[in-house]
């Protein structure tokens, strides 16, 4: 991962900056309220946000997915901070996944990785706290919670064929 500069914004949240190789700077302001601002800095005045787009938490996740970055979004706002070392990740189930099409019970994600699926987002709506008989269908999004290494392992299972 590239180096990201983190700056505290007292009373607001945290700002993350990324310098691109081409000399531009983009940033994300993570508000304590969950709001995210996507910020593009001016070429001539690198400290000035020439464009700033407000995103809800959900829109932020979607954009993260589109950019294809790390699916593990660490939440730094108050609400999730208290979870200490836990992270939450939104993982779209890929067709190549060895467990795509299996039920949660068959996939046994928790036993295999230590991370749990706390919700499934499907086309017909979300299923909070899905039971064992729910199926991990291709294209649905699983909300995975656990320590970072467990979430990473679960993400791999949901995205790639078994090694």
């Amino acid at each position: 991962m590239r180096k990201v500069t983190e700056t505290d914004l007292p009373g607001v949240g945290i700002r993350f900056d990324l310098q691109t190789d081409a000399g531009r700077c983009v940033g994300v302001v993570a508000h304590q309220t969950g709001r995210r601002d996507l910020v593009v800095y001016d070429e001539r005045d690198i400290d000035r946000a020439c464009e700033s787009v407000q995103l809800t938490e959900d829109e932020g996740h979607t954009l993260g997915e589109l950019l294809g970055g790390s699916p593990v979004l660490e939440h730094l706002d108050d609400a999730v901070h208290r979870l200490e070392d836990l992270v939450i990740s939104w993982v779209q189930i890929a067709a190549e996944s060895s467990i795509a099409g299996q039920t949660l019970a068959e996939a046994a994600l928790r036993t295999r990785t230590g991370a749990g699926v706390v919700a499934l987002v499907t086309e017909s709506g979300s299923i909070p706290i899905p039971a064992g008989e729910h199926r991990l269908d291709v294209g649905d999004t699983a909300v995975v919670v656990g320590v970072p290494s467990a979430v990473k392992a679960a993400t791999r299972l949901l995205r790639r064929p078994a090694d």
């Binding site: 007292p10 607001v12 700002r15 900056d17 800095y41 000035r48 946000a49 108050d78």
Partner: protein, 388 residues
């Protein structure tokens, strides 16, 4: 029927509606509402066309509640951990800001022949920027992502923290009487403030958990009652009600904070507006011409010193020149705290009220405009530098 009561309600209704118009106007022209509330207060005050009789006592109580709520909300913005981190990071920038901006007011106070305590108050008035107005300007202009904004916010946090030590000291000195009793009052207040902050640091989470309630009604009443009680007791101890309320805000953390903000914001907006009007009411319009020149001169000096402190703080954080200017311009706006401080001294020196009101109105309007146009100011100077 009690006609006095009716009159009170009518006056209050008219007043609040007038403020509503002022707030809309401010929004329309893109300026902070606070200076306009002050103007409204002046227009209604002593020696003016309209006089509020029936509701004056009520407004006075409302103003007191306004100060308490402003400080409570300010305290809620910070957790003790955040405060401590900030002090560690920005001590130097904070110190520069203090020296550069306290001095003009203090010196001006002495030149104007105020007694030294009042000069210290005037120093406080010129020192402290308005975190409320600045935060709003930053958000309205979409500059939260700007690199200099973190610097500006850090400086504001240090200033607010400095107020927590400054307010008990000056209240102690103002109301202390003899030298010995003054020292004792100041020592008690500082010990009380530091003690509560210490307790908040260690037990804040637990206190917040006790205060938290599922019912928003119960939560609101708990918060309001608890804060008023602590603030009142703090006032009794000579610590100043404002500091008591601030400390309560800092002590609360976690889940309760976002609930509390949502519940208290409308109340704060109402009572803060009442406070500014009340301050304006107390100012004798006849005094303003006498102090206008002094107020404008001090305002002009503070524009320069605030820009300098923002510039230095931003430069230390590695920010480029246009950003440094923006940081400086952001810090110009003064507001709630300056008025709270001036209010303490109004009994001792009646000129202070008129001076502070004029000063805050001018400086805040100038600051808001400068901050908005800071970018267009910078670019030409940079081009010139390239040519030479």
């Amino acid at each position: 029927m009690d006609t006095g009561g009716d009159l009170l309600v009518i006056e209050l209704g008219a007043l609040v509606l007038a403020l509503a118009i002022v707030a809309r106007l401010a929004r329309r022209i893109g300026l902070p509402a606070l200076p306009l509330y002050l103007l409204a207060g002046l227009a209604l005050g002593e020696g003016s066309l309209f006089e509020l009789d029936a509701s004056e006592d009520f407004i006075e109580v409302g103003a007191e509640i306004g100060v308490i709520l402003m400080l409570l909300m300010l305290g809620l913005e910070f957790s003790t951990h955040e405060l401590i981190n900030n002090v560690r990071r920005s001590t130097l920038a904070g110190a520069v800001d203090l020296v550069l901006n306290f001095t003009p007011g203090f010196v001006a106070g002495l030149i104007l022949g105020f007694d030294p305590v009042v000069a210290v108050l005037l120093g406080g008035v010129t020192y402290i920027s308005s975190s409320g107005i600045v935060a709003k300007l930053v958000a309205d202009l979409d500059r939260i992502g700007n690199h200099e904004t973190s610097v500006v916010l850090s400086v504001l946090v240090i200033e607010d923290l400095a107020m927590v030590l400054y307010l008990p000291i000056v209240s102690g000195v103002l109301f202390g009487g003899s030298a010995l009793s003054t020292v004792i009052t100041v020592a008690i207040s500082l010990a009380a403030v530091l003690g509560v902050l210490g307790v908040a640091y260690l037990l804040g989470d637990r206190l917040s958990a006790i205060a938290l309630s599922q019912s928003s009604e119960a939560l609101l009443l708990t918060l309001l009652g608890g804060t008023l009680l602590v603030a009142g007791l703090a006032g009794r101890l000579g610590v100043s009600t404002a500091v008591g309320a601030f400390v309560v805000g800092v002590a609360l953390s976690g889940d309760i904070v976002s609930h509390a903000r949502g519940l208290l914001l409308p109340l704060r907006n109402l009572f803060a507006a009442v406070f500014f009007v009340f301050f304006g009411l107390k100012v004798d319009l006849g005094l303003i011409p006498d102090v206008a020149v002094a107020a404008l001169a001090i305002a002009a000096v503070t524009v320069v010193t605030k820009i300098a402190s923002g510039w230095i703080a931003a430069a230390r954080a590695g920010i480029g020149k246009p950003g440094r200017l923006r940081a400086g311009a952001a810090l110009i706006a003064h507001g709630e705290f300056s008025i709270v401080i001036a209010e303490l001294g109004i009994a001792r020196e009646s000129d202070l009220g008129a001076l502070a009101a004029t000063y805050v109105i001018v400086l805040t309007l100038v600051g808001a405009v400068l901050y908005q146009f800071a970018d267009s100011i910078t670019l030409p100077t940079r081009k010139r530098r390239v040519r030479t």
